[in-house]
Symmetry: C2
Subunit: 420 residues, 2 copies
């Protein structure tokens, strides 16, 4: 098999460890110079391919590439962009072929979640439907942990660890203040559709009375009365109450709690944030002094508190993707297969892009307690190993020493423009 170049890109919301995957791809490719020429990264995901905006990763030192392992976010830029089908927009695919041919790209690695793997799958049709020889490998990534088939998703373990650590720390704080001040703390976490991240907060609760006392999942219809009486019960029993609410928490009607709140000075829907809505609801009902937090990007970018397990799996997925390509596989995705809980053991498996693209994995009902406010032992057993281990980045001047790549562009070979 002749030597050809590789295309790698990052897509969708970035994570604390997606660059560890990039590190795995590039370091592994560099070990097979006989088969893989250069690794060209797409600037801002697939857009980089469409606009011939490629980054020459061979211009980065081994040290810089290694530093990707401890650097959060997407070093090459990401995108939220979905390809139309070949039938709908053939021009897009012809453009991709034109760019790939110009740069002799024979390997396509696309690092993202369910929507992004739809892109990988469509690009894989280039060879089948349009005769352009390319091997397409997807690489899983998402903080939401909502990809099917794989036991868990790189990116999730670190946000899970951040959320569990943060809610434990905040709970210690609230407990100290509760006698004369704050009695209720509400923390909002990500997960518009699936409650995996909210569930992870439950790991902080290791004994009776520990926080979080209440978790609000998107999977469980919110009942105001039941919730409010549970809050009161907590405050009566423990002196304080800590709530973790998913941004996707909703009423039976399907309406998001976040939309139930305020309208701003200009009269349009409130500014986002379910935490303040829930906190105010409690204040109205019980008068407790409250504090609330919305971690937002802080939770998914928090490489400083990343899970060692997550970092290792993210790197391994990138490495496996390149190995799959070298084995001549295409239209597949490496996945994490759990082989044992105690001790936690996992291996790398493989699945077809078709089985992953555009699918979402919800929390099983038996991961949530009957009352809907907590996680079961089964859920705890699943989640626990994913946050295990610390993988601290190096520090300089008291701050994490994250790498900024040079991102040297590959000289354009086409004189044609392409409108996105």
């Amino acid at each position: 098999m002749e030597k050809r170049n590789a295309f790698y890109a990052q897509s969708g919301g970035v994570t604390a460890v997606i660059n560890a995957t990039a590190c795995g791809v590039i370091e592994t490719a560099r070990k097979h110079k006989g088969r893989i020429g250069k690794v060209y990264a797409g600037r801002n995901g697939i857009l980089g391919a469409l606009t011939e905006d490629l980054i020459d990763t061979s211009r980065e030192s081994a040290r810089a590439i290694a530093a990707l392992r401890h650097t959060p976010s997407g070093a090459f830029g990401s995108c939220r962009y979905k390809l139309k089908s070949i039938e709908e927009n053939r021009a897009q695919y012809e453009r991709l072929m034109e760019v790939f041919r110009a740069h002799d790209i024979g390997y396509f690695f696309y690092n993202g979640g369910g929507d992004s793997q739809d892109t990988s799958q469509k690009v894989s049709q280039l060879s089948r439907k349009m005769g352009y020889p390319i091997l397409c490998i997807g690489i899983p990534k998402t903080v939401d942990n909502d990809l099917p088939v794989t036991d868990n998703c790189p990116g999730f373990g670190s946000v899970a660890k951040y959320v569990a650590v943060s809610i434990r720390e905040a709970a210690f704080d609230v407990k100290s203040m509760a006698e004369t001040s704050t009695k209720v703390f509400v923390m909002e976490v990500m997960g518009r559709h699936a409650g995996w991240i909210a569930a992870a907060s439950g790991l902080a609760r290791e004994g009776e009375g520990d926080a979080p006392h209440i978790i609000l999942f998107p999977e469980i219809a919110f009942e105001r009365k039941r919730f409010l009486s549970r809050v009161k019960k907590c405050v009566d029993q423990y002196g304080y109450c800590v709530v973790c609410v998913s941004e996707g928490a909703r009423f039976k009607s399907g309406k998001f709690l976040a939309d139930a709140g305020s309208t701003d000075a200009f009269g349009h829907k409130q500014l986002g944030g379910v935490a303040p809505v829930v906190a105010d609801m409690i204040k109205q009902a019980h008068g407790y002094k409250y504090h609330w937090a919305v971690a937002d990007y802080l939770q998914r970018a928090a490489r400083h508190i990343a899970s060692k397990t997550d970092v290792e799996q993210a790197y391994a997925m990138g490495k496996a993707a390149v190995q799959f390509a070298l084995q001549g596989k295409t239209a597949v995705l490496p996945v994490i297969v759990r082989t044992s809980n105690k001790p936690y053991r996992w291996k790398i498996g493989s699945t077809s892009l078709a089985r992953v693209a555009n699918r979402e994995k919800m929390m099983p009902r038996n991961f949530i307690t009957k009352d809907g406010f907590g996680i079961t032992q089964r859920c705890r057993t699943y989640l626990a190993p994913l946050i295990r281990g610390e993988a601290y980045p190096p520090y300089r001047n008291g701050l994490p020493d994250y790498v900024r790549l040079r991102n040297v562009p590959v000289p354009k070979k086409l004189d044609t423009e392409f409108q996105i």
Copy 2:
């Protein structure tokens, strides 16, 4: 000097390192058993003294006390409670004397900020005005860094590190997404009156183009037009814009930005949070997609990312307080004196409670850039050493292993109740 017992309590908002100070107090007192009998902690600050609700710290193992050094929040509970003057409420002071006498308390250590040191100062009058022999030592603590005299306050360095690290991480994230998604990120930090915490975010900016691009201080009157045009300039120049806003940011009129925003479904003032107000302001003017975060308690409880400098100073303040008492000092407070910037060196000084009680130290104007949106080199030189060094807590099951003390109550000796 005969052997007497000591009273120690924590007051006001807790921090990531106030327990490190408690550790310094108790470990040092235990080394002087000939002079100091037992250390009784007040449950929930001064309230514990008034209600004779004392905790016997001698019932805690050396290991548990040592673990306070890496445990955030107030292990004995804190309070927001201010004593009236002796003239206004003599009964309160008679009650304190009654409790102190019953438990042979000859040393009073009060760990808190400006309001709390007002309490220390008043209690110190017991000996002068009411003839009860007691040595009163204040111990500085506040995340706001707004105490006078001391170069900085234990508690601030760690929240400063958290804020600088978090905004750097979020900025990496936004930069990755900016091309097709989020272009503006707004992070709200604490500091109702003084902009020290907001200023600390500026440490993340080490080069041209680095975030944060704009800092909004309570000390600088907010001008909507000037702010919005600066945001646009950033997005045009860098492709994205990261803003750190202090919860105390206000208009020229003195009105808080947080009060300028929305009203909730019930028609009353919005739920708090200046970040969503600022983010929405930007959306209205420029239409940029935004994300915002409110760290709230997460920032002051984040022991997992505490500053080593801060932890050491917090411990040293507790140790020094006990040494002051053993020297027979009273109505004083140990402070941090900076003796050198490069290399950073500091020593322990002393000041009178009167000079600290109820005073606030604002940011000097020359710490803020002329345009009011950033920090000067002078400010950077001051802040930099305070976030230096990491002091990670031990982990168990992927979570920080924080100690929960037994907090065994001291048997009551009085049959009298006291109404707070």
